[in-house]
């Protein structure tokens, strides 16, 4: 088995709001191996972004609070680090790519300085050296005239170009893990294809692990080695990417896969998951998917299912917990 790079155990991140406690991430356990791409799939409000922000402790606290759990990166506990130790990890060993590129780049600072800042800050590199490295990197992420780009401001670039700049910033220190939160959601398909290819190339070149958060199952199928599916703050299923798509086990994963239109299918009626995603303040008792599930039984309404293991995959559903007890 390959070495785990990041291990998250029983993580709980709650928000303490005026309307009550919001269990945005509720007792989740997963790991990412070295040089692996882990896809994190789920609909809005399922806690996938909060999970990412919890790892780097970029959450606004309060109202957010990491209630309990453990996050080990290369064996070191991130939750026990102080702010200056964390700053060394951020951008150095773990970097992040966000969906809203315009808000993650500083609008009044030229591109060049935003890229080199990481180098001069973390590595005490001189301005000139850093600039040479930045130009090299811009060429790798597909800019035809990298020197000219260095002097431009973010608003002068298109969405796809900005996202490529973000990838350059995220990879400049050869991090061990990149957390990409919906990196291509705001982009057009042809630009998305460009950006995904660059991410894959960078990964192959540097051997970086990627935690790829997305709601697009197509992107996951293409990029990920392993997938976790989240629903209402919980991980409902974890499996290798081919297993998720060929033999999904959790009813939510099954329905989700059936409900997406594909260009391979003929014009047909889509499968539908009835109802809506529950609000975080109103998560149902028991299995959180049960009000929308076709297979819901009495036990689903009262007790939360624990993960059931099948070889290298696991699923949290009463359908399988019982099956295992019987066999």
């Amino acid at each position: 088995m390959s070495e785990p790079l990041l291990e998250v155990t029983n993580l709980k991140t709650y928000f303490h709001t005026n309307e009550g406690i919001v269990p945005a991430v509720d007792d989740i356990t997963f790991h990412i191996d070295k040089a692996e791409t882990l896809g994190v799939v789920g609909e809005s409000g399922c806690g996938k972004s909060v999970t990412a922000l919890s790892i780097l402790q970029l959450l606004k606290m309060p109202p957010g609070k990491i209630e309990s759990g453990e996050i080990l990166f290369n064996g070191c506990s991130l939750l026990e680090m102080n702010e200056s130790q964390l700053r060394k990890i951020r951008g150095n060993d773990i970097s992040m790519i966000f969906q809203e590129v315009m808000t993650s780049l500083n609008p009044v600072i030229r591109i060049g300085r935003q890229i080199t800042e990481t180098l001069t800050f973390h590595q005490n590199m001189s301005r000139e050296e850093a600039e040479v490295k930045a130009v090299e990197l811009l060429e790798i992420v597909g800019f035809a005239n990298p020197k000219d780009q260095m002097g431009r401001y973010p608003h002068e670039l298109s969405g796809g170009m900005r996202q490529r700049i973000m990838i350059a910033i995220a990879t400049i220190r050869n991090p061990k893990l990149i957390i990409a939160d919906e990196p291509t959601t705001a982009l057009d398909v042809t630009i998305q294809a460009q950006v995904l290819k660059i991410m894959q190339d960078m990964k192959d070149m540097l051997g970086t692990a990627i935690m790829l958060i997305t709601h697009d199952l197509g992107v996951v199928a293409e990029m990920a080695d392993r997938v976790i599916v989240m629903y209402a703050g919980k991980i409902v299923e974890e499996a290798r990417v081919d297993e998720i798509f060929s033999t999904p086990k959790h009813p939510y994963t099954q329905k989700l896969l059936e409900s997406i239109p594909s260009i391979m299918d003929a014009k047909k009626r889509l499968a539908v998951i009835p109802g809506v995603v529950p609000k975080p303040t109103e998560f149902p008792e028991g299995c959180r998917f049960h009000p929308r599930c076709d297979h819901a039984k009495d036990i689903c309404k009262t007790k939360t299912p624990a993960p059931t293991k099948f070889d290298d995959r696991q699923v949290s559903c009463w359908l399988y917990s019982e099956a295992e007890v019987r066999s």
Binding site: E43, S44, S158, G159, G160, M161, D188, V189, T190, I191, Q192, A193, Q194, L196, K197, H215, D216, L217, G218, V219, V220, A221, E222, V241, D242, F245, S246, K255, L256, L257, S259, I260, P261, S262, I263, M264, D265, A266, K267, K268, R269, L270, A271, V272, I273, V276, V277
Partner: protein, 329 residues
């Protein structure tokens, strides 16, 4: 271009060489220095009861096109014929009358619904304005409409912000339906919704179409969604239609290099599926400085000399299949 129809369905909407330019003002005197050519000579037709998908990337002019068709924005030139009436020749009064038959659904349902009106008010407003129903009759009609779109009677007294995105979109659909239109322009109606909610709305739109025999112009950037709902698909690039075909032919036998790249760029929800991906170079050019010749030529991998000189016309290549490319004949 002349669209020669060779099926015998009844045409509902016919658009001919439609253009919409947005002037760019500059200098101290604010004279027009340039034009943003959002829609730059578009022709197509929509049959009664069919769905035409219009696909393109951001900034290609697809939403502007939807609005110019309904005369929500004024055209620059060209013709829009709805049931043999030229929309732009009508007086305000006549236009209002014909607007009953043409409605629109927007991408952001919350922004499209009045925040301080209840659902009952929102759906009842068109009925009141067009003098279709009053009093108890109106209430009955409103109830029918909410049931049609899968909402409940008790939702009527609620405000838009109390609903989820999918439900808000249902309210928007009910409002569009209230005047029993013959054409609905759906401008990215599902792109703001979660995957599991998307399929609910797509199925609802299909059911309603079957029941009321309406035509849809379904504007979207997601080809998979468009494939699922459309009878025919048109691809737009920088203000022009580059290809129109029936949906089956479209995905089997598309001809334009841009269509080819667009289809190949879609990530497939199937890890086993390996395909050759065509990565287009660069970004979509600005609609202010449209490249000379074929507007796709700077990104096209099959470019020949003529592409940089002459703009290709949209030509028929087989039944109901139109392509604008020098390499296709």
């Amino acid at each position: 271009m002349n669209i020669n129809k060779n099926d015998n369905k009844e045409v509902l909407l016919k658009v001919n060489e439609l253009k919409k330019y947005f002037p760019i003002q500059g200098g101290v005197t604010l004279q027009v220095v340039d034009n943003l050519k959002a829609v730059d000579g578009v022709s197509f037709y929509v049959n009664k009861g069919e769905t035409l998908g219009i696909v393109g990337e951001s900034g290609c002019g697809k939403s502007t096109l939807g609005r110019v068709i309904l005369r929500l924005l004024d055209k620059t030139s060209g013709e829009v014929q709805f049931k043999n009436n030229d929309i732009y020749q009508l007086t305000y009064k006549e236009l209002r009358k014909i607007r009953r038959s043409m409605q629109i659904i927007f991408q952001d349902p919350l922004a499209a619904l009045h925040p301080r009106m209840t659902v009952k008010g929102i759906i009842g407003e068109p009925l009141k304005l067009h003098g279709i129903a009053k009093g108890p009759e109106k209430d009955k009609k409103i109830e029918e409409l909410v049931n049609l779109v899968g909402l409940d009677k008790y939702h009527l007294s609620k405000y838009p912000h109390e609903f989820s995105g999918g439900q808000q979109q249902r309210v928007g659909i009910a409002r569009a339906l209230s005047l029993t239109p013959e054409l609905i322009v759906c401008d990215e109606p599902v792109s703001a919704l979660d995957v599991s909610i998307q399929s609910q709305i797509i199925n609802l739109l299909k059911d309603l179409q079957e029941e009321f025999d309406m035509a849809y112009i379904f504007i979207a950037h997601d080809l998979s969604v468009v494939k699922n709902i459309s009878d025919r698909v048109a691809i737009m690039y920088l203000g022009k239609i580059v290809e129109i075909a029936e949906v089956e032919k479209f995905f089997r036998d598309s001809k334009h290099p841009y269509t080819e790249a667009l289809i190949s760029a879609i990530p497939m929800p199937d890890p086993q599926f390996k395909k050759e991906r065509i990565i287009l170079k660069g970004d979509v050019p600005s609609p202010v400085n449209i490249p000379k010749g074929c507007r796709f030529n700077p990104r096209c991998r099959y470019r020949i000399d003529i592409c940089m000189e002459q703009e290709p016309d949209l030509k028929v290549i087989s039944d109901n299949h139109y392509v604008a490319c020098h390499l296709v004949s």
